[in-house]
Symmetry: C2
Subunit: 390 residues, 2 copies
Amino acid sequence: MRHPAGCPVLETTLSLCPIGDGLRGEGAPDRKDRLARACRQVGHLSTRRRRQRQERVTLEDVALAANVSSITVSRALRNPEKVTPELRDRILRHVAEMGYVPDFAARALASRTSGMIGVLSPSLANYAFISVMRGIEDRVGMTDLRIQYANTGFEPDEQVKQLRLFLSQNPVGLIVVSGVESPQLLDILAQAPCPIVQALDIASAPIGMAIGIDNRIASETATRHLIERGYRRIALFSGGPAIHAYPRLAGYRAVMEEAGLFDPALVVQHQGHSSVSLGGHLIDRLFRQAPDADAAFCLCDDVALGAIFECQRRGIRVPEDFGICGYHDLDFASVSVPTITTVRVPRYDIGFRAADKLLRAVAGGKTVSSVVDVGFQLVERETTARRSER
Amino acid sequence: MRHPAGCPVLETTLSLCPIGDGLRGEGAPDRKDRLARACRQVGHLSTRRRRQRQERVTLEDVALAANVSSITVSRALRNPEKVTPELRDRILRHVAEMGYVPDFAARALASRTSGMIGVLSPSLANYAFISVMRGIEDRVGMTDLRIQYANTGFEPDEQVKQLRLFLSQNPVGLIVVSGVESPQLLDILAQAPCPIVQALDIASAPIGMAIGIDNRIASETATRHLIERGYRRIALFSGGPAIHAYPRLAGYRAVMEEAGLFDPALVVQHQGHSSVSLGGHLIDRLFRQAPDADAAFCLCDDVALGAIFECQRRGIRVPEDFGICGYHDLDFASVSVPTITTVRVPRYDIGFRAADKLLRAVAGGKTVSSVVDVGFQLVERETTARRSER
DNA sequence: CTGTTAGCGCCTTCAA
DNA sequence: TTGAAGGCGCTAACAG
C-alpha cells in the first residue's frame, strides 16, 4: 500500500555549498532609531558606522537602550551579583524586550574559553554508545558547559578529521568513547591542550584518563562460560571493524587456544554496524564455514538477537543445540525469548563518571593520568542455560 | 560473577564547575624565539605584549615564521587559488610544522558565519531518529559545514533551552527532527535568523520548510489494516509524551471511533522512551485494563517486539490470538519471529533530503516555505497475518 | 558598583 | 598577488 503522495525524487543537483554562502540578513527596520539615539550618546561613536545591513542585537545595543556601558550589561547577564538589583532588572528587561542573544563566538574569543566539551564516539546507531552518552549528558548538564558530539563511524580518517574540528573550537575537555586505535589519533590527542578522558575501554593504550572495563578480560570470561556450559565449536560474531573489536577478539582467541578449540573458521566478522539482521546473516555464513558450530559469542546483543531469530527459523534449538552469548546487556536481553546471556557493562555509569572525571580535571587545571576499571558482570540467562556436558 | 575491580563509588562532591575555570595553559618554550624574530619585523609590534602564558599558535605566528602577512596565510589556507603555488607550499609547510590550528570562534566572529548547522532531535536513544540523523550527516558531509546535535528528551523546556544555545552560535541553518509542539518553541523558531527545516513529521504546524510523512494518515492506515484483518479490540501502545505522539493518536482514534470500536481502556501510554522491555509492560497493563484486547498498534517497533515476547511468554499466539502492528520498520522488524507488520517511514531519505533542502535555502539566502510528503508504506508481515474474519 | 581601555584571532575591505 | 588597517561582539584588567 502506497501513500498517495507517491515517491518524489531528489531535486537534481546537489550543490556543495561552501561555508558562508548567502548568509547576509536584511536590514532591521527599527535599527535606525537606536542608532540615532546612539549618536546622542558619548563614547559610542564607533557604533555608528558598522552594521549597515546587519540584524543582530549586540550587548552595546542593549547598553545604549539602558543607558549604561556594555560591560555592565555583560555583568548583569553573567555575574548578576555584581550589579545593583534595580539596574540589573532594568537591563534584563531591555534584554528580553530587544531579544538579545549572546554571541558565543565573541564570548569564546574574548574569554579564551569555549565552554564546550567534545564527545567523540564511533557510532550513534548503537544503544551501547548511546547509554554512555546519556551518562555524560546528565553529568555535564549539571554545569554550564555544552556538549558537542561527533561520530566517526569507526573510521580512523573520520576520527582524525572530527578531532581536528574539535580542537579548532578550543574544547574545555574531550571524551573519547571506545578505544583509541589509530596512532595518528593518539598523536593528536597527546598534544591536545585540554584534558581527555577515554570511556568504555581501558584495554587500549590510554592517553590521559580512562574509565571503563577491560574488554579483553570480559571477552575471556564470556568465552570461558560457553566452554563451561559444554559448548566446543564456539563461533565469534563481530560487527564493526576488526580494530575496534580487537581486545575482545584477543580475549576470545586466547581462551579458545588455551582450550585447544580455536579455529579460524569459527570467526565471522562483518565490516559495518552491528544490527539484529546482521545476526541472521552471520549465522548463515557460520554454518557454511563450520556446519558443526554449536555456539556463538556475539560482540553485541543485537547480533545475538538476530542469531536467535535465525536459529528459530532453522529449527535449531537455543540453548540445547546452539548456545548464544551477547555483549552489553541491552534493554531487550532480559525480556527476549529466550533471554540472552550477556556481559553487562555499566555504560551509563561509565559515561557519567567519565564526564565527572573530566570536569574535575578541567576545574583543577591538571590532568592526572588514571585508569579506572568499573568492572563488568556476566549475566547468565537462557541462551546458554543447558546442563553442562563437560 | 563480578569482575575483581569491584564496584567503585563516585568520588564525593560533584562540583558544578562553571564555564572557564582553570583553563590557562602553561607557556610554550619555543615562543621566545619567535617573539624575538617578531621584534625584528616591522608592524607586528602588537604581538610582543600579548601572550604571556598562552600557547595557541596563531595565524600571525605562522605569518611571522613564513615572512608574510597573516592575511596571506589565511588565504593560503582558505582560498589556496589566490596565492602563488610556491608561496602556498611554503606557508603550508610552516603551518604543519608549527601545528597551527585555526580558531573557529575567531573565524566565526570575523566572518560573521559559524559554518554550523544545528540539529534538534528529541532523542538519541531511538533508531528512528538516528536514521534521520545519518541522512542529514551524509548530506551535510558533502559540504564544509559542521553539524551540532542537541537532544531534548522530549521535554519542551529542554527544547527551548537547546534552541537558545543554538541561536547563540549563529547557526547557518536548523533542522528540527520530529514535530514542533510547544508554542514557545514555535515562537523562537519563527524569529530565528536562519532557514529551518522540520523533518519527519509534516502534520504539526510547520515553520519554514518541512519534509516527512503525515503521521496521522499513516496511523489511520495502520489502524484500518488491523480492523480489516478482523481485530476489534485494538489497543494503542505509546511511549514518549502524548504530545509527541499526538498525530498518531488522533489517527488511531478517528478510525476506531468511525468503526465504533474506540475505548479509552485500550489506550496504554507511558511517559518515557520506548523500548523493547516497555512493550512487555504495556501488554501487562493492557490485559489488566482490557482483558479482551485482541491487537495492539505500537507507535514504535521496539515496543511491538517487546509485546511479541510477552505474548510468547503468556502463551498468546501472534497473530492468531493477538495482532501486532509496529511503526518505523526498524531493522529487526523483517527478521524477528514472527516478522512485524509495520509502517515503513523512509527515515534516512527524510534526513538526507531535509539537509538538502536546508542547504539550498542557505545557499539561496531565502527560505521558501514548503512541505514535502515523502509518503509511507504499510508493510504487511506475520504479526497481522491471520485470515480476515470480517 | 560602574566605566574605560584594549585586545581575543581572524577576515573584510581597500590600497599597492 | 600581497599587504595594511580596522572591526566582528565580547570580556579581562584596571580605574574611578
